[in-house]
């Protein structure tokens, strides 16, 4: 194994690449409607505008939450996850209960995790079974007018970008 390889991998995913990247993408989309349109039309190009990309992010699709649509991501077959914008996935995302249940009973599972959604809200589950990797664009919380992008980014949680939480 090349010298320092373990440390390099550890450092990359512990310090350099993580959900702060995705939060910046979300904040930019909230602040700039034209960026949001570009991001939804081509997720890969949109995140590349902020300098993010690379392994497990070569084919990005961003899915937008609204008051009547809620998106959530899973990989039932293994652990596929949008590394460039969210870093490495948490253990619960990769373990059997989430993978088995999110495609079968998402409304009940989301409520268990702390994200109850009434039946009027359509739930869209995205199983990352091929090359596309997904990022959820959460709804912008109320009373955030006038905030800078940095302030907006600080509101965006990792879980809201997977789709197991709303902000």
């Amino acid at each position: 194994m090349p010298e320092g390889f373990i440390e390099q991998i550890t450092r990359r995913y512990e310090s350099e690449i993580g959900p702060l990247n995705g939060a910046k993408v979300v904040a930019r989309a909230w602040a700039d409607p034209e960026y949001k349109m570009r991001l939804l039309a081509d997720g890969t190009a949109g995140i590349a505008e902020l300098g993010f990309g690379g392994p497990e992010g070569d084919h990005m699709v961003v899915v937008e939450n609204t008051s009547i649509v809620h998106n959530v991501i899973v990989c039932t077959l293994c652990s596929c996850y949008p590394w460039p914008v969210l870093g490495l996935p948490p253990a619960w995302y990769k373990d059997p209960p989430y993978r088995a249940r999110m495609v079968r009973e998402p409304r009940a599972l989301l409520a268990e995790i702390g994200c109850p959604l009434p039946e009027e809200v359509e739930i869209r589950v995205w199983d990352s079974s091929a090359e596309v990797r997904y990022l959820v664009l959460p709804q912008r919380p109320p009373a955030t007018e006038g905030m800078t992008e940095a302030e907006l980014a600080a509101l965006v949680t990792r879980d809201s970008m997977i789709g197991v939480a709303r902000l």
Partner: protein, 210 residues
């Protein structure tokens, strides 16, 4: 013995709580980072395709797969690929480990010699109704069992990509269009749940017109 893999978990019942945490360390133990690095190095050394890499995890003994942590899957896969590509023997590993070191089960599918021609033109368009072929391959696939035989609607055309079922089993490659297909959850599970759509990303050859 032809069985669908234990990793194909979508829809399996009987699992309890998800054990959700809002934040956690990337690696809970240093050995996990070592396991991650090891699989990357071994896969590179044996020039394993993404499909062969994933399939080496999927071939774990079912009880071992379900009761071990994620990075133990990577460690098992690294050792399995190393043994199968003759970098080391199972006995050498067990001697170093000082005990049993279970590897994944053998590849059950024959090597693919002729992958057939690439498919450059999508057979389906957005809005088409498609049925997922009810194949039960002994080898690697990225078609989840829970949508086989089911009918859905194409919602997005994605790029042309290497078919996993081919690339996992030799040097041959075939490239095909991929699609995001939307299924109504109540139709998948027959349970009357409302307002839920499940989208699965599928290769062209997994689908037939409905």
């Amino acid at each position: 013995m032809l069985v669908d893999g234990i990793h194909d978990l979508g829809g399996m019942q009987g699992w309890g709580a998800v054990g959700h945490t809002p934040a956690e360390p990337v690696f809970h133990h240093r050995w996990e980072a070592v396991a991650r690095a090891l699989l990357v190095v071994v896969a590179g050394a044996v020039q394993a395709s993404g499909g062969e890499f994933r399939h080496s995890i999927e071939r774990m003994e079912p009880g071992h797969y379900l009761t071990s942590s994620y990075y133990e899957h990577w460690l098992t896969a690294a050792a399995t690929l190393a043994v199968e590509h003759r970098l080391v023997t199972g006995s050498e590993i067990e001697a170093r480990a000082g005990g049993r070191f279970p590897l994944s089960g053998p590849v059950l599918a024959p090597p693919v010699v002729d992958a057939g021609p690439d498919v450059g033109t999508p057979r389906f368009a957005v809005g088409d109704r498609v049925r997922v072929r009810d194949w039960h391959s002994p080898g690697h696939t990225r078609c989840p069992g829970y949508v086989r035989g089911k009918t859905g609607t194409v919602v997005r055309l994605d790029g042309i990509h290497s078919v996993p079922d081919i690339e996992a089993h030799g040097a041959a490659r075939r490239h095909e269009p991929t699609y995001s297909v939307r299924f109504d959850a109540a139709e998948l599970w027959g349970d009357g749940q409302r307002g839920v759509r499940v989208h699965v990303d599928l290769w062209d050859s997994y689908l037939e017109p409905s």
